[in-house]
């Protein structure tokens, strides 16, 4: 299990400072929350960590190793998985196929074996389908295995995306608004799942607008406003910080 450290990370978009010198750590076995008003730069943080965006300044380290220059597929291979704010499933594929896509890096069959269609290739594939079904069972969704991903309800689609991320066997999991559009009951179920994952030693970073969920779930929180870190610490401390109240209430009042 690995820790993720951001050191004075900045990102400019054509002169606009989307993120200004953010320093934060995501630790194994803990749920770290990242909150802030819309446009604060939260998703930018996830895109920078996963390599989809390049840093303007700063360093990102995974277990001490600098990953800021790596292409996104290399970051994923090191065990950094993510979900997307606007759910992105493979819509032509079934639920089980979506999860199997997440096992891409655990399939080591050689090119000649694949070209010749050897039995070993089919065995490896069958094994991955089996592991995908085990994940589905763990999330109480076995009966949806053969459904097309796009046909599922919103809450179920979010879960499939989380399962696909878990198929990567990540040590760091980045969740971009996982409870968006969910009822309180569904959000609580999801919170219980995240807690269980953290207890297994995963480092979780959760971006979320559902304050009830974040406050009850997170061990540590970071608050962004206009690309700047305005507060960090335990949920109780963050909740009573005047700058956080200002950022949220001020934003809403305008």
């Amino acid at each position: 299990m690995a820790r993720l450290d951001l050191e004075r990370v900045s990102r400019h978009f054509f002169g606009v400072e989307a993120l200004k010198g953010l320093t934060m750590s995501v630790l194994p076995g803990r749920v770290t929350g990242l909150i802030g008003p819309n446009g604060a730069g939260k998703t930018t943080v996830v895109n920078l960590i996963t390599g989809l965006l390049k840093l303007t300044e700063g360093r990102i380290r995974l277990e001490g190793e600098d990953i800021s220059e790596l292409p996104p597929h290399a970051v994923a291979r090191l065990g950094v998985a993510r979900t997307f704010q606007n759910i992105r499933l493979l819509h032509e594929a079934s639920v089980v196929e979506n999860i199997v896509a997440g096992f891409h890096t655990s399939d080591h069959t050689s090119l000649p074996a694949q070209a010749l269609g050897l039995a070993s290739v089919r065995r490896v594939r069958a094994g991955l389908v089996q592991r995908a079904r085990e994940l589905l069972a763990e999330f109480a969704m076995e009966e949806y295995a053969e459904c097309l991903a796009g046909e599922l309800s919103y809450g179920h689609q979010r879960r499939v995306e989380i399962m696909r991320a878990l198929a990567l066997a990540p040590s760091v999991l980045l969740l971009d608004e996982p409870a968006a559009g969910m009822s309180d009951g569904e959000a609580d179920e999801l919170g219980a799942i995240f807690r269980r994952l953290a207890d297994r030693g995963l480092a979780l970073l959760v971006i979320e607008h559902n304050m009830r969920l974040v406050m009850s779930l997170c061990d540590e929180m970071y608050v962004l406003d206009s690309g700047e870190l305005i507060c960090s610490g335990a949920p109780e401390r963050v909740r009573s910080d005047p700058r956080v109240i200002e950022a949220y209430l001020g934003g809403e009042a305008c």
């Binding site: 896509a101 290739v121 594939r125």
Partner: protein
């Protein structure tokens, strides 16, 4: 009697060669690369095989190997600049590539024979060789399609961003798809040279580009059956519509328009999607059946 049999055989040969071209176009489209370079790559393969035999007396095996290698290497080289482009820009760049290859074939007279092309190539392949090699291509693509590589292609085509965050190297897999496409096109080009006993430069121009693309649009791009069905239909259609004489092209165009309008995924993919919808509807009915006794929560 023998005359009509020979006619059927040459039609079969034509279908087989067109299947080879369709497979080359299919591989790139499956991996989400909008390349239409197949015609240019096949041209390079045809010249490689023809020149190997006419100049250096190479046999069929060596000539076809040279054709395959020439197609693949050109494609791999082309994949480097192409990796920086997406979608319609890849299409434009590869159209340009086809035109450049055609111009080179026409003007590098010393090597290619210019507008006369290559003539007097010995007939080194017949129907059995064509059938065996096309079947081998189908087998390899089918196997790859059901392995990690095929699923990586599918993921890239559907959502490139998702694919990279799952550890799929998009540049690597698209180069692989392009190399495969080039190898298949090159081999098919070589087969055309040895089968037709000549290489005609204009044959590998814009017309072929559009026809080959139409095979995959008509058939489908997800399973290897798609391009085969597309090539079969569009190769036989002109023969079936022969009584219509000058109106054959109208039938050709009408069929394409109907398919694009009503079966936008192509014939094979649309059928597979329909079958799948029915299957998932059945499994959904089961889920509803299971949930129903509990009533609404």
């Amino acid at each position: 009697m023998t005359g009509s049999l020979a006619a059927y055989q040459s039609l079969l040969d034509l279908v087989l060669l067109n299947c080879g071209l369709a497979l080359s176009q299919f591989v790139v489209l499956r991996a989400g690369v909008f390349s239409v370079a197949t015609a240019g790559l096949a041209s390079i393969g045809a010249y490689a095989a023809g020149i190997a035999t006419l100049r250096w007396g190479a046999g069929a095996a060596v000539g076809l190997l040279a054709a395959t290698a020439a197609g693949m290497l050109t494609a791999l080289l082309l994949s480097l600049p192409l990796a920086r482009l997406r979608g319609v820009y890849q299409a434009i760049a590869t159209v340009a590539m086809v035109q450049i290859v055609l111009s080179l074939a026409l003007y590098a007279t010393d090597v290619t024979g210019g507008a006369n092309g290559l003539n007097g190539v010995p007939k080194l392949v017949g129907t059995p060789e064509l059938a065996i090699l096309v079947l081998a291509m189908v087998y390899v693509l089918h196997s790859l399609g059901r392995s990690r590589i095929g699923y990586a292609f599918d993921a890239i085509r559907q959502d490139e961003t998702v694919a990279v965050t799952l550890g799929v190297s998009v540049a690597g897999y698209q180069a692989l798809a392009f190399g495969l496409s080039g190898a298949i096109a090159g081999l098919t080009g070589g087969l055309m040279a040895y089968h037709n006993r000549s290489v005609v430069p204009e044959e590998f121009g814009f017309g072929m580009l559009v026809t080959v693309l139409a095979y995959v649009v008509l058939g489908g791009r997800r399973s290897v059956l798609g391009p085969l069905v597309g090539a079969l239909i569009l190769s036989l259609l002109p023969e079936l519509a022969r009584p219509l004489a000058d109106n054959r092209l109208i039938v050709h165009g009408a069929v394409l328009m109907l398919v694009i309008t009503y079966l936008p995924h192509g014939i094979v993919d649309s059928l597979q999607i329909a079958i799948r919808r029915r299957a998932t509807a059945a499994s959904r009915a089961q889920i509803v059946g299971k949930e129903a006794p509990d009533g609404p929560a």
